[in-house]
Symmetry: C2
Subunit: 189 residues, 2 copies
């Protein structure tokens, strides 16, 4: 029997882990860093559908991946054989249950994200901060290990608008940029 899991593999920021359309033999477990799931359109526009943080298990598409899976920061990712894991789950209701809850969690997060589609740039970003804060466990100051372009493409706004939004929130005293790049101090979110 082939190994179910390989040792975690290192990817550098912006490396492609799996392409849209690739056969989905593996699911992914983020060990460290941030992974993005995204699609780039013919006109060059890009949608970042989701970010995955350490501990997140994802990539159950159908036969093939629906989105490109890429490193949004330097990451360590473990690849796990889908068939092997599914087979295991058949024999273990505990595991099957766990996997169900993983997928349901992702569905719920994606729905919450979709629910922000009506909001203004500012509110989309605030919703993003709240989500990131709760998922990463950082509440007071929050370390975004990823680029502004990724965040903008996730929120459906342009990087320039994101920049202005952050500046605006800073002026209103809702948050503060810190000396360490990518770290925001949340005051009243």
């Amino acid at each position: 029997m082939a190994a179910l899991r390989t040792g975690p593999i290192r990817f550098r920021r912006n490396q492609v882990i799996a392409c849209e359309g690739d056969t989905a033999d593996y699911v992914f477990l983020v060990v460290s860093g941030v992974v993005r799931s995204c699609r780039t359109f013919r006109n060059g526009d890009r949608s970042v559908v989701a970010f995955y943080l350490p501990g997140d298990l994802f990539g159950w598409g159908n036969e093939t991946h629906s989105f490109s899976i890429e490193a949004a920061s330097d990451v360590m990712v473990a690849l796990i054989r889908r068939r092997g894991l599914s087979a295991l789950a058949e024999g273990s209701p505990r595991l099957a249950n766990f996997l169900r809850s993983v997928v349901l969690n992702e569905l719920h997060r994606t729905q919450e994200h979709a629910a922000t589609i009506t909001m203004s740039a500012k509110n989309r970003f605030l919703a993003f901060l709240r989500d990131w804060s709760s998922r990463s466990g950082e509440s007071k100051s929050i370390r975004l290990q990823i680029g502004h372009q990724d965040i903008a493409d996730h929120l459906g706004i342009k990087m320039e608008t994101l920049s202005r939004t952050i500046t605006e929130l800073e002026r209103s005293g809702a948050l503060a940029r810190t000396s360490s790049p990518g770290v925001l101090r949340l005051m009243r979110i």
Copy 2:
């Protein structure tokens, strides 16, 4: 043992089937009509996260429903005990597998929808038409049994913009309004 499934229940357009926050004892099977899953914000804005068509099984939240479940047209919906169905699935890998695929399908659709967040009003509506067409099985002419407000709130645009978008697509020959209200004839989508 309590009945797993009640007979389908009739709801009229805009009736609430379950409130956000209600304990999620039941999952829902759409028998006829269209159901929407949505959230209304304090300012009156609303997000329609998803539509469910006949045959769709949904509502696996956590303990409580995350969104309000409402009739987007007159509908027939069967309520199914969640605990009962889960228990059954424990003993039947076939059923467990089926339920997994149902949730994965919904996740995939939600991700596709989230990926449209970057698009223009026109492209969001076209994506919506394609999705609706493939899910309903209507390809040539398509019967939207739901109000424009629901579609607009799903796409994150205003009803007026949707109207203008349809008019514009009609002028460009991509589709045509028909005499039957809510029925669009697709020419080149």
